[in-house]
């Protein structure tokens, strides 16, 4: 068996091991590889940067489950930190049934860092099922969609949100989702109500949302761990995303090497087979 044939039949567990090492080693021996900020992430940052504490609150919908947490939690925290650092009022909620715990964790963690108080500086609305209907109903009356916050307090008794009723009373929406919930925000909040929507998404779904950027249906997009690292860089608070970028870059290099080796081996083998066929 020649070298290329052996490469074509390499045990996939060796590849898994290489990837595991490529991710593990940069954590122990950080390389501090540089990152750069893309326009789509900067658009989100710039729009939030223009807001003042007197503006209506920012609505942040934390619509993901633990499976998407490694990618989306860092960017959620980064955007929350940005809002709280500017003393903006924040409303958080979730439309994913596995999201309440993660959303509460992220909201509380960022709020505590900046000394923000529940009910005064921010409100966590909790979870509601039936995504499209909730988003649509919020356009008519948020208090009907969420009669009370996550802790059971009626919204009418919470000073920060008592007078917030429709999207007209919201500055902008940022949704963090690993599923089609982003599309629902575009379709039901941006489409009929013209509410500015930005999205943070997993890298897998980033390409699906680029068409929405071109048409202005989304005003910005934070894609994957790289997008989260860019946002952390913009707010000047390094977090898990920036720490993870070394591992991400090295793992990508390993994968590129494997793809090249696989292709070279494939074409060399095919050429050999074609040559053998002619000789035969």
């Amino acid at each position: 068996m020649g070298l290329f044939e052996r490469l074509m039949h390499i045990d996939r567990r060796i590849i898994f091991l290489c990837i595991a090492l490529a991710v593990l080693i940069p954590f122990i021996f950080p390389l501090r590889l540089p990152t750069y900020v893309t326009r789509r992430v900067k658009d989100v940052y710039d729009r939030i940067e223009t807001l003042t504490p007197d503006d209506p609150p920012v609505l942040i919908s934390i619509d993901y489950d633990p499976a998407a947490m490694p990618e989306l939690q860092p960017m959620t925290l980064a955007v929350l930190r940005h809002c709280f650092s500017k003393d903006l009022k924040v409303i958080t909620m979730t439309l994913h049934q596995a999201g309440p715990g993660l959303a509460l964790d992220a909201t509380s963690e960022a709020a505590e860092e900046y000394g923000k108080v529940n009910g005064i500086d921010y409100v966590f609305l909790g979870f509601k099922p039936a995504i499209a209907m909730v988003i649509d109903q919020m356009g008519q009356d948020i208090h009907r969609a969420f009669p009370e916050d996550y802790f059971g307090t009626p919204l009418s008794e919470i000073p920060m949100i008592a007078d917030i009723h429709t999207y007209d009373d919201i500055s902008l929406i940022v949704t963090f989702a690993a599923s089609a919930i982003t599309e629902a925000w575009v379709a039901y909040a941006n489409g009929p109500y013209q509410e500015p929507v930005a999205a943070g998404c997993t890298a897998v779904s980033a390409t699906d949302y680029y068409p929405f950027l071109q048409t202005g249906q989304l005003f910005g997009l934070i894609g994957g761990l790289k997008g989260a690292a860019e946002y952390e860089y913009l707010i000047g608070v390094p977090g898990r995303a920036i720490i993870g970028m070394d591992a991400q870059s090295i793992a990508h290099l390993i994968i590129i090497v494997f793809v090249i080796i696989g292709n070279v081996a494939f074409f060399v083998q095919r050429r050999g087979a074609a040559g053998g066929g002619r000789r035969g």
Partner: protein, 225 residues
Amino acid sequence: MSTDLWVWLAALLTFCIYSFLYRDNPVYKAAEHLFVGVSAAYYLVIYYHNSVLPNLARPLWAAVTEGQHGNFILIIPGILGIFFFLRFFPRGGWLSRWSIAFYVGSGAGLSIPRTMLTRIIQQMQGTMVSFIPTQAWRTLLAEPTIWNGLWLMSVPLAAVGVLCTLSYFFFSRPHRGVLGVTSRIGIVFLMIGFGASFGYTVMARISLLIGRVYFLLSDWLGIIE
């Protein structure tokens, strides 16, 4: 190293799941079943506390005790919701179709016009406008950089890509002549799209591994902060 039992359990379950990479085994199966069971129970509790109680039970209780008679309207969706569960009983199972019909009908009525607007009309509008890239021109004139120049070029390129890709999916004529050329260009755009999606997918999967490795090294072992 962590002294929290739950962190140890999470670390153990992480290894159980990753053991599948070596080969399928009972430890992986046990962790998988545990995940499914815990998720189902968690979702049930979440739905009850976040939807049934605040949107149905409490308003109905207020209708009875506080005279908020308008809330009695919620009896109708409440009954339709109960009908869903009649699927478990052979005699009354047919009633669940009423609930499904209501759910499908209202869902379709709500989503069709919005999806048309979002996915088709606004996207078509964006493609047409992109033939005249005024915003890109303005940005380039205000800030003449290579990136802004490339952006200017990319705007009509997107429109060309849409038309060529659509021509590839036009099957009423053989792909020869002009249609053959445009459909081949369409294939190139499709391949670039698939390549970008694959690249992003790789990035996402590696990110998930990074998340777990970070958890193991920081929360569990305490090697990194």
